[in-house]
């Protein structure tokens, strides 16, 4: 075998896998960093660099998903390109090429972005210091992800390496000759890279030989949570009705793992806040986990309620569930409701823990978000906590009910939307990708129109008309799409009377609760544009209710 052609083939394979993600990262990074440079005159360069570093800092998810999904969604740590094990190539070469591609391609994307922005805005961005940090971070990250199949090592290691490298990059950016490393720092980066490479080769060699726990990920993956979570709470499957059995299935396979995650985060937050009284560095960790746990549960744990699986990056719906004699609309409703209920309970548990634990901040003394010489944020945070307490105490009974209804039904809507999106990616991957970018394009066009109005390129009255029309565009699109999905569902006999009645009742409850919350505060003399904006949550919920069974039906009957 010609070694050069083998390396080219491996690089080509990885390029094919990561090219779409690469374009997405490049575009998103450029968009967000441009915004930072436009809006922040004083500190725009630093913010733009951090945005670009965040955009290109993570290893390629499109390659990682060869292991069966994302982090907890069927993903198994280990070397993702395990099909290369059967190639007559040394492990060091297989690992070296893969690690090099991961690190260098992301660093190259950063350099390209920095160069483009520097030229466009006339503000040079530091290139090689950030790129060096990114390369080191990628090498260590891939080492942690690929060299072991132990999830604890994967999680703890990922968190442990994040902060030191962020600190190193920060010190480099804060230094007077922005972007220069000291000799010791440079040597440390090189050493990190070399050690990571050596450890990864050793770890992957063990997996290749079959010495590791499991030599390669299973070909057939249950698209769900880790098995130890699924088996944490066991109870017998009821046999009296199909609905009860399906409820058991949903709870075991995804509902209880979400609750476990919520409970674990709640306990962890409580412990970290308490430990922060005596161990000052833990205060930043406690705040960080508090801030990230809500979006994590809300967006990660609320996704893929339909159990879409992934095999070697290919998405599909499992035949086991799709061949059970159960109505599609009922199945979609049951899955969304069980997941929503569990996500809500998890969020409530975390919120209660944060509320109770935040009282420990009084004993912290000082905390300044890790910024040297920063202002002590504890008094402000305690004041903020007091204001939330007052706001809750000041709510009327109906206000509470309305708030609870809006949050609960809103979470269910989010679960329905995310699940539908995952399901539709099975059949309409490109169209879903386009649809995902549509809001960004819409926002960009409004931004450009506003910018053109400010610079006098377009008359202010024309800009106002464009913005007003643009605000009504999503309203019309949501309405038309809902009508289409409803018609299609009726034509294919997907919807049942019970489902429609239930969906309408939920929608009516949401509408009433939403109007109660808005009454007095917003609606008095509201402009048409604002009215359009305010109608979106109701329309989104309505469309989610029609889209979810449609999407499940499309993957069930391809």
């Amino acid at each position: 075998m010609n070694l050069r052609s083998a390396v080219v083939a491996m690089l080509w394979e990885q390029w094919r896998l990561s090219r779409v993600e690469g374009v997405q990262r490049l575009f998103l990074g450029l968009l967000a960093a441009s915004g930072a440079l436009l809006l922040n005159q004083d500190n725009g360069v630093t913010v733009a660099v951090w945005i670009l570093a965040a955009a290109h800092g993570f290893f390629w998810f499109s390659i990682a998903k060869l292991n069966g999904g994302r982090f907890m969604d069927g993903y198994k740590p280990g070397f993702p390109l395990y099909l290369l094990y059967t190639r007559p190539l040394p492990t060091a070469l297989v690992v070296g090429v893969s690690m090099a591609y991961d690190a260098l391609s992301c660093a190259a994307l950063y350099i390209l972005s920095a160069a483009l922005l520097g030229a466009a805005f006339g503000k040079p961005l530091p290139m090689f210091s950030v790129a060096a940090c990114l390369v080191a971070y990628h090498l260590v990250s891939t080492c942690i992800q690929w060299s072991t199949q132990n999830r604890i090592v994967q999680w703890v290691g990922s968190i442990a390496i994040f902060w030191p490298l962020v600190g190193l990059l920060k010190s480099s950016l804060d230094s007077p000759d922005q972007g220069r490393f000291t000799l010791a720092q440079g040597a440390m980066l090189v050493l990190l890279g070399l050690v990571s490479f050596g450890l990864t080769v050793a770890g992957v060699a063990r997996q290749r030989r079959g010495d590791a726990v499991a030599q390669e990920p299973r070909k057939e993956i249950w698209g769900g949570y880790p098995e130890w979570m699924v088996n944490l709470v066991r109870f017998s499957c009821p046999t009296s009705s199909a609905m009860k059995a399906q409820l058991w299935f949903e709870l075991r396979s995804s509902g209880l793992p979400v609750l476990t995650i919520g409970l674990s985060l709640a306990v962890l937050i409580c412990l970290l806040f308490a430990a922060g009284i005596v161990i000052a560095p833990l205060r930043t960790v406690a705040m960080g986990i508090t801030v990230f746990s809500f979006p994590f549960v809300l967006f990660f744990c609320a996704s893929n309620a339909f159990g879409i699986r992934s095999k070697q990056g290919r998405l599909y719906a499992g035949t086991f569930e799709t061949t059970q004699p159960y109505g599609t609309a009922q199945l979609a409703a049951l899955k969304v409701l069980v997941r929503s209920a569990c996500v809500l309970i998890a969020l409530a548990t975390i919120a209660a823990s944060v509320w109770a634990s935040s009282s420990f901040m009084g004993a912290w003394g000082a905390w300044s978000a890790g910024i040297e010489g920063g202002v002590n944020a504890v008094p402000e945070l305690l004041k903020f906590r007091g204001r939330i307490g007052d706001a809750i105490a000041g709510q009327s009974g109906w206000g509470f009910v309305a708030l609870a209804a809006v949050v609960s039904i809103g979470v269910a809507g989010l679960v329905a939307w995310q699940s539908a999106r995952e399901a539709l990616r099975v059949r309409y991957a490109r169209r879903v990708l386009v649809a995902q970018w549509a809001p960004a394009a819409w926002g960009l066009s409004i931004g450009l129109a506003t910018l053109a109005g400010k610079t006098g390129f377009i008359a202010p009255s024309a800009v106002r008309s464009i913005v007003q029309a643009a605000m009504w565009l999503p309203t019309a699109a949501l309405l038309l799409a809902t009508i289409y999905f409803l018609r299609s569902n009726v034509a294919e006999r997907v919807l049942t009377v019970r489902y429609v009645a239930g969906a309408l009742a939920i929608l009516a409850a949401f509408g009433a609760a939403y109007a109660t919350l808005l009454a007095g505060a917003w609606l008095g003399g509201a402009e048409p544009t604002l009215m359009a904006l305010l109608s979106w949550p109701v329309l989104l919920l309505m469309m989610g209710g029609a889209l979810a069974p449609w999407a499940l039906n499309r993957v069930r009957h391809t």
């Binding site: 299973r218 057939e220 993956i221 249950w222 769900g224 098995e227 699924v230 088996n231 017998s236 499957c237 009821p238 046999t239 009296s240 009705s241 199909a242 009860k244 059995a245 399906q246 058991w248 299935f249 075991r252 396979s253 499992g318 035949t319 086991f320 799709t322 061949t323 059970q324 004699p325 159960y326 109505g327 599609t328 294919e492 006999r493 069930r556 009957h557 391809t558």
Partner: protein
């Protein structure tokens, strides 16, 4: 019970440029064991997926128990037992949980039959699906498919992963028991001896089309394999109307042919030859002859 359990008419399905099914028509009646045979990519699994409603017909129609499986999945799937080719089962479940979960969907679940099959296969109900070998997984899937005594049992490559004893004794017995109760079995296989042993109807699929369909005995009677000797020396197979495939060379050729033996004898005599011996063709010989002929026709086109 209906006279026709499965009724497929002019079914076509394409995946991009590839035509997976091209005008397939197929019927199955109660009490029949229907063997679907064909080479890889012939369209067997695609046809089965249409019967289950997992795929929508882009042309033609599919009716199972008189219902459209896409529009009425509950009505159709409630009466079907299905064993998938991939043996896809939830990894986190134990065998017992799998049985209980499946039982909840089927009120007619036969617990005694389930226990009997578990004992026959020597499967421990407490074992997790993920710990089972491919063959044991197939056995667990088979029990889940048959224990509710379905009106239609669909098995996609049931022998895959099963050892020869289980295949010959247990699988045959299970399939025969279902058919003897007046229920229908449709199974796909590329093991022609298995199809000959188990089925009473056979459908040969080739390149997305039904190349042959009928009762197994009738199909076998329709085709013979004859050894023929010619006076003249032929470098290429001589053209004989009813011949599907000819192997050999010179004066001696072995021919798989359709039509009556008398017709064939006259056609051979017209080329200056005679039949030395003749017998019913095996399914494998018929399959190879039909598939080979289709390939030749496709190449010629």
């Amino acid at each position: 019970m209906e006279n026709v359990v499965v009724d497929v008419n002019g079914l076509s399905r394409s995946f991009g440029q590839k035509t997976a099914l091209d005008g397939v028509s197929f019927r199955a009646a109660p009490g029949q064991v229907h063997g679907l045979v064909g080479s890889n990519g012939a369209g067997k699994t695609t046809l089965i997926k249409h019967l289950l409603g997992l795929l929508r017909a882009t042309a033609g129609s599919v009716r199972v128990f008189g219902l459209d499986p896409v529009r009425d999945p509950v009505g159709v799937l409630g009466r079907i037992g299905y064993l998938s080719e991939e043996r896809e089962l939830p990894e986190w479940m134990s065998i017992e949980e799998l049985m209980r979960y499946t039982q909840a969907y089927h009120p007619g679940w036969d617990g005694a039959y389930e226990r009997e099959l578990l004992e026959t296969f020597a499967l421990d109900p407490a074992r997790k699906i993920k710990d089972l070998s491919k063959g044991m997984r197939a056995q667990a899937g088979l029990i889940a498919a048959v224990a509710h005594r379905p009106d239609l049992l669909i098995l996609d490559e049931p022998s895959s992963g099963l050892d020869v004893v289980v295949r010959r004794d247990i699988l045959d017995a299970v399939v025969r028991a279902v058919a003897d109760d007046g229920r229908t079995v449709i199974f796909s296989s590329h093991l022609l001896d298995e199809v000959e042993r188990m089925s009473d109807h056979v459908t040969l699929m080739h390149q997305g089309r039904v190349a042959l369909n009928g009762m197994l005995d009738d199909v076998r009677r329709e085709y013979q394999r004859s050894r023929v000797r010619f006076v003249e020396h032929f470098d290429e197979p001589p053209v004989i109307d009813t011949a599907l495939i000819m192997e050999g060379g010179g004066r001696s050729w072995s021919v798989v042919h359709g039509g009556s033996l008398e017709q064939f004898r006259q056609a051979v005599a017209a080329r200056g030859g005679e039949i030395v011996e003749s017998r019913d063709a095996t399914l494998e010989e018929i399959f190879l002859a039909r598939a080979g002929r289709s390939r030749q026709q496709a190449e010629a086109a």
